[in-house]
């Protein structure tokens, strides 16, 4: 029986649907395994399919060659697969448990490569590639034109049973429940006695078992080759990942159902429109739709929110050290020596070596595009090689169209910028791992459809592309030596641009958004703008690399970069070299491209697979870390002073400082500067804030008290725009800002601090303040890249202002340390400094003393008031410390269960029976403590947290 869609002739034969279901079920098993691992490790496991490869090979070895009963052979094979998963977890994943998720993801790619190599080198592996695969029984039922045989029946029956068993294990066993608890909150689970690590190992073992079952089912259909290559087979991965995203990486059944749906859709499309590339379009659309319309994706994202910072993998020298003549000249000489060495080597290289040299150099440029996108902006692209290929083909197309040579590069860069921005649009909704799926789908789409399109790629296909090199400044580039120099110059330009990006507000903004998007928004940074800038810039560099690569090849009809796996290898290359720096990109290219040349392909594959694992395990910052460590050892030797104590005048305790001058605008009036009107917010069925209204007056310090879960932070989020209220309005300086985004409210001088006081892990305190100064002088991309005078002036001003603020607040000893190296107290001071930098007139402080010792808390009150006076600002402070609140605020509000239950002078509210009952409870000690007089502020302020700071 065949259904048909009227008008378009789209046929839906039911037996084809059955075939599609079976196909989708194989995707589903992979997808479910990915979800399983994601739930416990917060990583998309690219090695999932590979884990089952050895098991799939073991079945024929045991059952056919060794003559074991099929059941026993299968059992042993599943044990092998399960063991593979456990070994992967114990040997690699566990050791990377605290590593950024990107690092873990790359590790899984390396595991997949190693597993694929092992499968190829397995005993009798070649024979198994070609031999029929054993099945336990044989049947033959007719279903329309379709014959249902043992392999198909196995898929149709075993696949859902396996998934059902997995759901049962998750929901009904201690292991399952414990694993869910660990997935939700590993730390809390550990505190309740759940052996989180063991759970993780067991989950990986289970994933290995399911991967093995899927591989055996695939192999039973005569596809052992596909299964073995499946470790990195993008064709298998993308549908599975699309399904996993549609299942929000949480629901097993939704994921599985989505996979089946994708399998059916794919099969029907192939059936009706063979060879048109529509399947690849479907995959891309499915992934994008999943990312755009599955709002629940934000939940798992929160768990991995901190996972994209590289944690100071590349640490710049403190500016005062960098300014030392010895260091400054040493750096220049080192750079000059490197360039000269590279140029000198080209003079003695053969043309063949020059050609490979150019190739390595261009791969380094490709790597730089990932440094910007992933290293700086934290946006993972697994389709970067496709952009490079697009650049190369675009250049050929432009030349074929008769573009002047000078504009060919511009065309390449332009189409890559535009395409990258389009591909980056999902980044506005999701980040990290999820975005990587979109870019991987783009790589598949590009290979399957885009690169075949004459309107964009012409000459691709049977007509090879031609891209003559021409000449530059009278230097003919036909010579390999000249082209090597040209490539080097290209690398230098790209490296200089990337360096400029990193050292200006553009790069700091990218890192800020990557490390802490909410905080970045309150600093007036637009994440959308920053992310798309990163995508566009990265795409531009990739297009530039593609143009260079096309010029290297001159004639090309097909290039290896069109294969989706080339993009995965590119990521591996950059992570191996070191993701956060120009040096890393260069070293990665030298390693990955150089080793195959010196030692052959086999060593090349081993070196990139094992090499990257070793680097990830023992040298987190990649090969570049070696260079930077050497630098950090060399500089103290040369300067005679350890890096951390170069500033001899720095005391490790707080720095005495004069008080901040009060603002001439400081005044207390009845004018309302911020008003919340009938704000209500609920998450699902939970009401977080209910009909809360309050006003903040000019110059007022308003405190908000409330027990945990009272809705204080949610209320703050509504005021700053992080959360849209279900109802109610927010009025700032008389303007309704309810519809404005946080960064737009920041432009209206609304500032905020956060409970966690994280700021930006990889930025230094000095840089964080520079980020805060972006509101006053936003960094523009082109002037920053080109170092134009406005940009230089702006940068200089920000440096001066940040330095002033640091001095004013006595934070000099910590100015050039990354935020992760600072204590909680210092980070809180840094947040306050950032608020000052922004010049905010309305400031929301969310538990400004959380995590600080009580003795130091008491010193915070005058600091906060001092800053408020300095800014002439109005404050809202959320705090649990009642004495502090009583001593600091002019007015006190109390929230309980999302409702405003009191609003008035602190002395009045503090004795309000409703407040006492709702918040203070009946504990006499608490009540007594709440009545202690506020401590008086001292005018000579010592930054309270510095006594806690360690020298290191």
């Amino acid at each position: 029986m065949t259904l048909a869609v009227p008008g378009v002739g789209f046929e839906i034969p039911y037996d084809v649907v059955v075939v599609g279901i079976a196909k989708g079920m194989t995707y589903g098993l992979t997808a479910v395994g990915i979800v399983l691992v994601y739930r416990v490790s917060r990583v998309i496991n690219f090695a999932h399919s590979a884990l089952g490869v050895l098991a799939a090979l073991a079945v024929p070895l045991l059952a056919v060659r060794w003559g074991l009963p099929y059941g026993l052979a299968l059992l042993l094979a599943l044990l092998i697969g399960s063991g593979s998963g456990a070994v992967a977890e114990l040997a690699v994943i566990r050791r990377l448990s605290t590593a950024p998720r990107l690092i873990v993801m790359v590790a899984t790619i390396a595991i997949a490569q190693i597993a694929s190599i092992a499968a190829v080198l397995a005993p009798h592996g070649n024979a198994f590639f070609r031999a029929p695969y054993p099945t336990p029984f044989s049947v033959s039922w007719k279903l329309g034109h379709l014959v249902v045989d043992a392999p198909l029946l196995m898929v149709l029956v075993a696949s859902p049973l396996l998934v059902a068993s997995l759901v049962a294990v998750r929901n009904r066993t201690g292991f399952g429940i414990a694993s869910q608890a660990a997935a939700e909150n590993a730390e809390a689970a550990w505190l309740t006695g759940i052996p989180v690590r063991r759970i993780s190992t067991m989950a990986w073992a289970l994933a290995g078992l399911y991967s093995s079952a899927a591989a055996v089912l695939l192999a039973s259909s005569g596809k052992i080759g596909g299964a073995s290559a499946g470790g990195l087979s993008v064709n298998l991965l993308v549908p599975a990942l699309a399904a996993a995203i549609l299942g929000r990486l949480s629901s097993i059944w939704v994921t599985y159902s989505a996979a089946v749906g994708i399998g059916v859709a794919e099969t029907l499309i192939e059936w009706n429109y063979p060879g048109n590339g529509y399947v690849q379009i479907l995959m891309l659309v499915a992934v994008l739709a999943g990312l755009f319309f599955r709002s629940g994706l934000s939940e798992p994202l929160r768990g991995g929110e901190t996972g994209w910072s590289l944690g100071g993998a590349v640490r710049a020298l403190p500016p005062d050290v960098a300014r030392l003549p010895l260091v400054r000249w040493g750096r220049r000489l080192g750079l000059a020596a490197t360039v000269l060495a590279a140029v000198a080597v080209t003079t003695v290289m053969s043309n063949a070596q020059l050609s490979l040299f150019s190739s390595v150099v261009i791969f380094a440029v490709m790597g730089l595009s990932l440094v910007v996108l992933t290293g700086f902006a934290g946006q993972v692209s697994l389709g970067q090689a496709a952009f490079v290929a697009l650049g190369a083909f675009g250049a050929g197309k432009a030349y074929a169209l008769g573009f002047p040579m000078a504009s060919v590069a511009a065309y390449s860069i332009a189409i890559c910028v535009v395409t990258a921005i389009l591909v980056g649009l999902p980044a506005l909704r999701v980040r990290g791992l999820f975005l990587s799926v979109a870019t991987l789908a783009f790589a598949l789409f590009a290979q399957g459809w885009l690169f075949g399109q004459a309107f964009l790629m012409k000459a691709y296909g049977t007509s090879s592309q031609l891209l003559p090199r021409g000449s530059v400044l009278g230097l003919g580039l036909e010579s390999e030596k000249h082209y090597a120099w040209f490539s080097l110059a290209g690398l230098a330009v790209a490296a200089a641009l990337v360096h400029r990006v990193r050292s200006t507000g553009v790069g700091r903004s990218m890192i800020a958004v990557r490390d802490n998007e909410p905080a970045a928004m309150t600093f007036s940074l637009s994440p959308n703008r920053v992310k798309l800038t990163a995508f566009g810039l990265s795409g531009g560099i990739a297009g530039f690399a593609g143009w260079l690569y096309g010029g290297l090849l001159v004639n090309y009809s097909d290039i290896s970069l069109t294969a989706p796996r080339a993009s995965l290898e590119l990521v591996v290359m950059v992570v191996l070299g070191g993701l956060g720096s120009v040096t890393g990109a260069v070293l990665g290219a030298l390693w990955v491209q150089g080793i195959p040349y010196f030692f052959g392909d086999t060593w090349g594959v081993f070196s990139s697979a094992f090499g990257v694992l070793l680097v990830l395990l023992f040298l987190r910052g990649g090969l570049a870390a070696i260079v930077f460590r050497a630098r950090d050892r060399l500089v103290p030797v040369l300067t005679g002073r350890p890096l951390d104590q170069v500033r001899g005048s720095v005391r490790q305790e707080g720095v005495a400082r004069p008080p901040l001058p009060p603002s001439p605008h400081r005044r207390r009036t009845d004018a309302v500067v911020l008003e919340a009107r009938n704000i209500s917010v609920s998450f699902g069925g939970n009401v977080a804030v209910s009909d809360v209204s309050l006003q903040l007056h000019e110059g007022e310090v308003l405190g908000i008290l409330g027990p945990n879960g009272a809705g204080k932070t949610t209320f703050f989020d509504v005021l700053t725009g992080q959360v849209r209220p279900d109802q109610g309005r927010v009025i700032l300086h008389g303007m309704d800002v309810t519809a404005l985004r946080p960064e737009q409210r920041a432009e209206l001088l609304l500032g905020r601090t956060f409970q966690q006081a994280r700021l930006f892990d990889e930025l230094t305190l000095f840089e964080s303040l520079q980020v805060a100064l972006e509101r006053q002088a936003p960094s523009e991309l082109v002037p920053s890249l080109l170092g134009l005078p406005p940009s230089r002036r702006s940068e200089r001003d920000k440096c001066l202002r940040a330095g002033e603020l640091i001095e004013l607040l006595g934070l000099e000893p910590f100015a050039h340390r990354p935020m992760t190296a600072l204590s909680t107290g210092t980070r809180r001071m840094a947040e306050l400094a950032a608020v000052v930098a922004m010049g905010s007139r309305v400031v929301l402080l969310d538990e400004p003393t959380a995590g600080i010792a009580q003795a130091e808390v008491e010193q915070f009150t005058p600091v906060i008031r001092e800053i408020a006076d300095h800014l002439g600002a109005s404050l809202i402070v959320v705090e649990h410390d009642i004495p502090l609140m009583m001593s600091m605020v002019d007015r006190l509000c109390v929230l309980a269960a999302g409702r405003l239950i009191a609003d008035g002078p602190p002395q009045v509210v503090g004795v309000d029976p409703a407040v006492i009952a709702a918040y203070l409870g009946t504990d006499a000690r608490v009540v007594q403590r709440s009545g202690r007089p506020a401590l008086s502020a001292t005018r000579s302020v010592r930054v309270p947290t510095l006594t806690k700071e360690k020298a290191s």
Binding site: D15, V16, K23, T26, V120, N126, R130, P132, H145, S221, G222, K223, G225, G226, G230, S233, V234, N235, E270, P274, G277, V279, Q280, A337, T338, A341, A342, A344, V348, M349, S350, A352, S355, L356, F357, G448, G452, Y460, G461, T462, S463, S464, E478, L553, V554, N555, Y556, S557, D558, I559, T562, P564, R565, L590, G594, Y597, F598, G600, D601, T602
Partner: protein, 531 residues
């Protein structure tokens, strides 16, 4: 291979690699690493040519082509000219001139002085002792009065060996080429006693940059006169178009466009992919014409856009022009699954089955296993390398039984029931005489040896025909005088002014499930239509 001094070859120069290693060190240390290098790197070691001209009495050149390649060809008595029907090297032969790069299908003479090429008639001794004039080939890269430098690129399939099995095991490639060159040179003295000096490079077939580097090595480092590559060389236009140099390749994965843009300097043994697909289609059309009621299905992989374009233009459009509308199914699986099929097979089988397809053209072989499971038994048609044992390892014994193939290579003749021809045996002897173990016919080493005999033999013939004043244009013309080549790896054939690929014949084969092998069903016959 010996370099004349009993030493092992220094294949792709380790010393030269040290230069790049020094680069890495230099970049890492930021030092002037050039100072560590101590001068220019050594060139790739030329090998094997020493003493070639002095070797007399070696095996002769290939015998005249035999009908249908049945293996009954008698070995030639040695000497020159027998394979070339046009007899370009006959004394005084050659009416055309080689003026200023003009290309002509007629045998060349010396363009400057009208001096005929110094080719010799059959059985005539070489011009030993007669030196070329300094004016001969003056300024021609890679040619001196006494030597001709040829670059030989060897495909490196090391990574694929475990997957492809014996077919990818090529043995000591360089030694094989040296041995064949030595033997052929001995029995085919070059004009004025020049010797061929080979230089070798390996290239990875998956990386275009490697092929490009090999091109640069040959052209701009080694300054070779001409280039020979085994197969899947990915920068043919670097050699032929950019650097105006002669190149001959086995031809697998070359396209019409490559030939068109090469300025006539690109030669192949096999037909380009476009022609391959057209031959295949024309052959299928002929077969279907004899089979009333047959319905054709086409199943192909879409992971390579280049092939997709060829399928469209040279299969589907050709079928359409003949009034045949096939049922089309595609697979989007990546290259990883090309060898063993992919999850799209079941739908493709179902599509063909439900549409009543009786005959299938396809390049995705796992389809058969699925078809067998679905109790669907169409007739299959394959062509070229798809109808070779190395690529049919996953054929289902039952379902694939009876599949039809159109072939032009002699690969796997052993399993097709054809004994090696006398020429092939002679070719193998070139290698064994040099101390190389006799390869088994199913191994890649056998095929590589045959390719070496084909490519080197053709180039030598071309050089002889070109005469003393050797230039690239004259070599092109000289090779085009090879109009009747017996073929070691491939079928017999010849080149013409408009056809730079060799084969002129093909034969049909059938797949037998019982032996999982192809066997010939017809003798070689002239190629069908491919226009």
């Amino acid at each position: 291979m010996n370099d004349g001094h009993g030493t092992e070859p220094v294949a792709p120069s380790l010393r030269s690699r040290s230069v790049v290693l020094a680069l890495i060190v230099g970049l890492l240390l930021g030092a002037m690493s050039a100072a560590l290098l101590g001068g220019r790197p050594a060139r790739l070691a030329p090998t094997g040519a020493d003493g070639i001209a002095q070797t007399d009495g070696g095996p002769g050149v290939p015998s005249a082509p035999t009908a249908a390649g049945s293996g009954a060809a008698a070995p030639s008595a040695g000497g020159l000219g027998s394979p070339t029907a046009a007899g370009p090297a006959g004394a005084g032969g050659g009416a055309a001139t080689d003026g200023a790069g003009a290309t002509s299908s007629t045998p060349p003479t010396d363009g400057a002085g009208g001096r005929p090429p110094q080719g010799r008639g059959k059985g005539q001794p070489s011009v030993l002792g007669v030196s070329c004039s300094k004016l001969d080939s003056a300024g021609v890269r890679g040619v001196t009065p006494t030597t001709i430098k040829i670059g030989i690129g060897l495909a490196d399939l090391t990574l694929l060996e475990p997957v492809l099995g014996p077919a990818a095991q090529f043995g000591p490639q360089q030694q094989i080429f040296d041995a064949v060159l030595k033997a052929l040179s001995a029995s085919n003295p070059l004009p004025c006693g020049r010797k061929i000096v080979p230089v070798y490079e390996k290239y990875q077939v998956l990386t275009e940059a490697q092929s490009r580097a090999v091109c640069q090595s040959f052209i701009n480092d080694e300054k070779v006169f001409a280039v020979i590559t085994t197969f899947s060389f990915r920068s043919p236009l670097c050699v032929t178009q950019e650097n105006k140099t002669f190149l001959i390749d086995q031809g697998y994965q070359l396209y019409n466009d490559d030939f068109a843009q090469s300025g006539g300097r690109l030669f192949g043994l096999d037909p380009p992919v476009d022609i391959w697909y057209r031959l295949w289609t024309s052959w299928v059309i002929e077969r279907l014409a004899k089979k009333p009621g047959a319905k054709l299905g086409v199943y192909y992989n879409t992971s390579n856009p280049e092939r997709v374009a060829v399928v469209q233009a040279d299969v589907l459009d050709v079928l359409k022009a003949h009034g045949i509308t096939p049922v089309v199914a595609t697979s989007n699986a990546g290259a990883e699954t090309l060898v063993t099929g992919d999850p799209n097979d079941p739908a493709a089988v179902l599509k063909f089955k439900s549409a009543g397809v009786t005959d299938v053209m396809m390049s995705v072989e796992n389809f058969m296993q699925q078809a067998q499971r679905e109790d669907y038994h169409p007739r299959y048609y394959f062509a070229g390398s798809d109808a070779e044992d190395a690529n049919s390892g996953r054929f289902d014994a039952t379902n694939g039984d009876g599949a039809q193939g159109l072939v032009w290579d002699r690969v796997n003749d052993y399993s097709r029931g054809v004994a090696p021809t006398a020429d092939q045996e002679r070719c193998v002897r070139y290698a064994t005489d040099a101390g190389i173990a006799r390869p088994r016919p199913e191994y890649g080493q056998w095929n590589l040896t045959m390719i070496a005999c084909d490519e080197l033999g053709i180039v030598i013939k071309g050089i002889i025909a070109a005469g003393a004043n050797l230039t690239t244009d004259r070599l092109v013309l000289g090779v085009r005088t090879v109009t009747s080549w017996p073929g070691y790896f491939v079928a017999a054939g010849g080149f013409t002014a408009s056809k730079n690929w060799l084969i002129d014949e093909s034969r049909e084969a059938q797949y037998y499930g019982a032996c999982s092998c192809w066997k010939n069903t017809t003798d070689f016959a002239p190629l069908g239509s491919y226009q």
